[in-house]
Symmetry: C2
DNA sequence: ACAAGACACGGAAACGTTTCCACAATTAAA
DNA sequence: TTTAATTGTGGAAACGTTTCCGTGTCTTGT
């Protein structure tokens, strides 16, 4: 039960701690014989180096902080899986936090992470985040930060998104081609960039059509699911209801399904629906949901690769201030498609 | 850009590092005047204590390791959310790992975690895990470990599960009541405890009936989805196909939906289906899926509470070797229910 | 045979905290 | 007034690594 550390090994072997350390790290200045002895004892006693002593000494924690706005969401889980697939190869660990779409929570997490607990941060900002001062502070401490999906535009670093504008455009275009004359756009929050980009794509598609767009076609939704349900029901009940809906996030599409079902309307006969979503089982829904799905795993992988390149070697340049776009794919299913 | 640490603060204030440290920790032996001065400068220079120096000194990392067999799964995400809701109150951090249902991966993760990187481990074992020697080693190092859902029975510690036996029994009973005469049980792996428990419940329900059970009603599934799909199609194609299926995990139920759809059979008319699942949108499936769903968030919360009680105070007793059961709830939907 | 380098290892400092121990200065008790 | 206790602070050690610097023993070339 006594902790087996380098000093203990050294004492057992009648060697200096420095020699043991070097042997364990396979240093060139240690003879094969000594290395063998050290490694044998280390294995026998099941020596495990203390990561904190190491971190303290090396000023690097081999840990990456990941902040996501919600955990119960396939998209984020896939991104983290992708990220982990890269980072674990290099012996990095993932500290994962859920901001619950709450800026205050986000700030709190960031403040935990300052002070060297992580070597870098990978995050998707909360939908409430407009002021990015707390994020700028991360950079000023010299901690690399990468944004994905929901990015903070004014922080100079690498950001990964999908082709949100284009996808919003294509998704809307698709609805118009199906004969929709009144297409609503479900927006989670004006703050988040992807919402805005997707909305702009939507707006462009609408502008190119001959429909007389009205501002109230863009639905600002709440965080609360029940509020959204009531809102949607009120929107689709009247005679002026939409015949098409494009949802910028999966959660809202789910609620839309519920609302439409409760009002006894039919998808796609009465209302056609398209949603951004990374749901695996979109094809099992009633009816199967037309999705615009993001290459989540790939995003995670690319975040990981970029980060490892930066962290593994010393004196690497800062992460370039660029926006990397990985295209989404639209998968047309029954929810938007009326067979002739 | 020079790191602001305690020594630096002390130099600026013309005090000893020990005084500064005590002031920051609000020690009773420091005067109010000094505390005020120190705190003011610390705030001004945005001092952040180095967590690794602290951990090294205190032999505690304020970090908990979480190991799950898959990330893209609502159940595990909910558990982690519940766990985090407790641990973050106490300033604990979560290091999350995905074992991808692979024992070797699991062992590797465990070995990372030994050596003090985490103060405790919360995990659900992989479906391949039968030998638990690597898990026993964790305890021998004095690191508390808690299992949930998929537990390692022979490790003496607290384990959280749901009433798997009972749920398996009730789910099967429900199918029998719907008139099923041949009910298959989908098993992910014989190794995992919950699979076994659920299966035993199934077996009891079958035994109590007048059906002539055959061992091949229990379907050992693969890890690979496509293999399962082919397997299921071969099982439901012949005339001796089942008229009821109970799936011990969500993933297999999804594949069963696909298989049944591809063979042009109907749920529930031809085959009635029940599954253990924490899917949020079971009611939106075609047809809505009858689920036995676990109180995932609550499991996480209870893991967290137990762990915090153990970790916050010194010299707490070991975690009791008990099995805590939190009941699942069955939600009957169309997939298993034939309206008269 | 002797200087010069290579080789193998030991000693000690450093990373940033916390805490044990010591010690003045002040206050309370005798 | 002397002694004892209290209060506020400083010095230094310790946590477990890694690494800088030093040093002694061998080899090698001249």
């Amino acid at each position: 039960m006594t902790k087996v550390n380098i000093k203990y090994l050294a004492a057992q072997l009648n060697m200096a701690p420095s020699t043991v350390s070097r042997a364990l790290n396979d240093s060139y200045e240690i003879s094969h014989a000594t290395k063998a002895k050290v490694l044998a004892l280390a294995k026998k006693l099941n020596y495990q180096p203390n990561p904190y002593a190491r971190s303290l000494r090396a000023h690097s924690s081999k840990t990456i902080g990941v902040i996501i706005p919600e955990r119960i969401n396939n998209f984020f889980s896939q991104v983290i899986d992708g990220l982990e697939s890269i980072t674990q190869e290099y012996g990095y660990h993932l500290l994962v936090y859920n901001s619950h779409e709450d800026v205050e929570q986000e700030k709190k997490i960031i403040s935990y992470l300052l002070g060297g607990r992580v070597d870098a941060i990978v995050m998707s900002v909360s939908s409430q985040t407009s002021d990015t001062q707390h994020l700028a502070q991360v950079q000023s401490q010299g901690i690399p930060i990468i944004f994905f999906d929901r990015i903070a535009q004014d922080i100079p670093t690498t950001k990964f998104t999908t082709n949100d504008f284009e996808s919003g455009y294509l998704g809307t275009k698709h609805l118009l081609e199906q004969g929709c004359r009144k297409v609503f756009f479900l927006l989670l929050s004006k703050e988040i960039t992807i919402g805005r980009e997707r909305m702009k794509g939507y707006q462009k598609a609408i502008e190119e059509s001959d429909l007389d767009f009205s501002e109230d076609w863009i639905i600002q939704c709440h965080q609360d699911e029940n509020q959204n349900l009531e809102l949607f029901k009120s929107l689709i009940y009247p005679i002026h209801r939409p015949d098409g809906i494009i949802s910028s996030v999966e959660k809202l599409a789910i609620t839309a399904y519920h609302a439409i079902r409760q009002t006894k309307l039919r998808i796609p006969e009465d209302i056609r629906l398209v949603s951004f979503s990374n749901m695996k089982i979109a094809d099992l829904l009633q009816p199967p949901l037309t999705t615009i799905s993001q290459p989540a795993h790939e995003i995670g992988v690319q975040c990981g690769q970029l980060l490892m390149k930066k962290l593994i070697k010393k004196n690497q340049p800062d992460l370039p201030n660029t926006l990397i776009t990985i295209p989404s794919t639209i998968q047309v299913r029954t929810s938007s498609f009326l067979k002739p």
